[in-house]
């Protein structure tokens, strides 16, 4: 089954992706992120046609704990965060928990 890429974030963040052909964009203006970002992410997660969700790492702080946990742990669709460096998107914490040591420590 073919799926699409979805982008969630401010209009400035999504415009570039629309230029590359991404059509599933959830635009949430900067000042309304605290109220609307949770719903936008949830709608994207529930969409069966979406295989990858792209978000900016800073936007993760606007999400409620529940939505953040579900999006970070989600495998289908999988979340890719940009601008957060290595180990963003909860991966670093998960590695620490499963392996016991912080393998993503920046040198």
């Amino acid at each position: 089954m073919s799926q699409e890429i979805a982008v969630v974030g401010s209009p400035e963040f999504t415009t570039g992706f629309r230029l590359a052909g991404v059509r599933k964009c959830e635009n949430v203006p900067e000042e309304q992120k605290d109220e609307q970002l949770d719903d936008a992410v949830q709608t994207t997660l529930e969409d069966d046609d979406v295989g990858i969700v792209v978000m900016h790492d800073d936007d993760m702080d606007h999400l409620s704990r529940q939505v953040r946990e579900s999006v970070e742990g989600s495998v289908e669709p999988v979340l890719v965060t940009l601008g957060g460096g290595a180990g963003s998107g909860g991966l670093r914490e998960q590695i620490k928990r499963a392996i016991g040591i912080d393998l993503m420590e920046e040198d």
Binding site: I5, T15, G16, R18, G21, R23, V80, G85, I99, M104
Partner: protein, 225 residues
Amino acid sequence: MAEDVKPTRKNLMAIEDRIELSERGHDTLEQKRDGLIMEFMDILDQAQDIRSKLDEDYDTAQEKINMARAMEGDVAVRGAAAALKEHPEITTQSKNIMGVVVPQIESSRVKKSLDQRGYGLLGSSARIDEAADAYEELLETIILAAEVETAMKKMLEEIETTKRRVNALEFKLLPDLHENKEYIEQKLEEQEREEIFRLKKIKAKKEEEEEEEAEKAEAEAATAD
């Protein structure tokens, strides 16, 4: 826990069988956990390379789109973005690494030529094309990152489950089984000792009775004479 089992030979044999099975399972799970961690380490190196490329690509793409916005104006960039007709698609296939099903993502129509973009050659400038190019490149790296990070997440889940199972066997099930075995062995030894003591008592009593009978018989023989 140990008081719950009946101290019988049958139970002892059953517990010994369970201990053997649990120890075998523990060894196998330990090997699986170590194998998974080794596979994970390979993927981790790959993931770190992709992550740094992703950050680089994102910075370049942002630089390019900011330049296009500054030179052509936001409206022109948004207009070009709205005109796109071809959409990138991804198809997912699966691969099995030590029992963990990880996805293999294939993409199509990510990189597009100028005429495939649909916003026309005359209506846009080279800067918008450059920005679109940079974002297409970024999307390709995102798809790679998604594949590797999903594999990592799934493997981490499996490592966690396996680790929990190994620990449960090592620190809960096996100690309990050994405790039960010891309890039954001690009880059986105690029963054996009691049995020997009882037999000795019976033997002594019988010998006493025999002696008494012999004495009586001797006394009877003496009076008869």
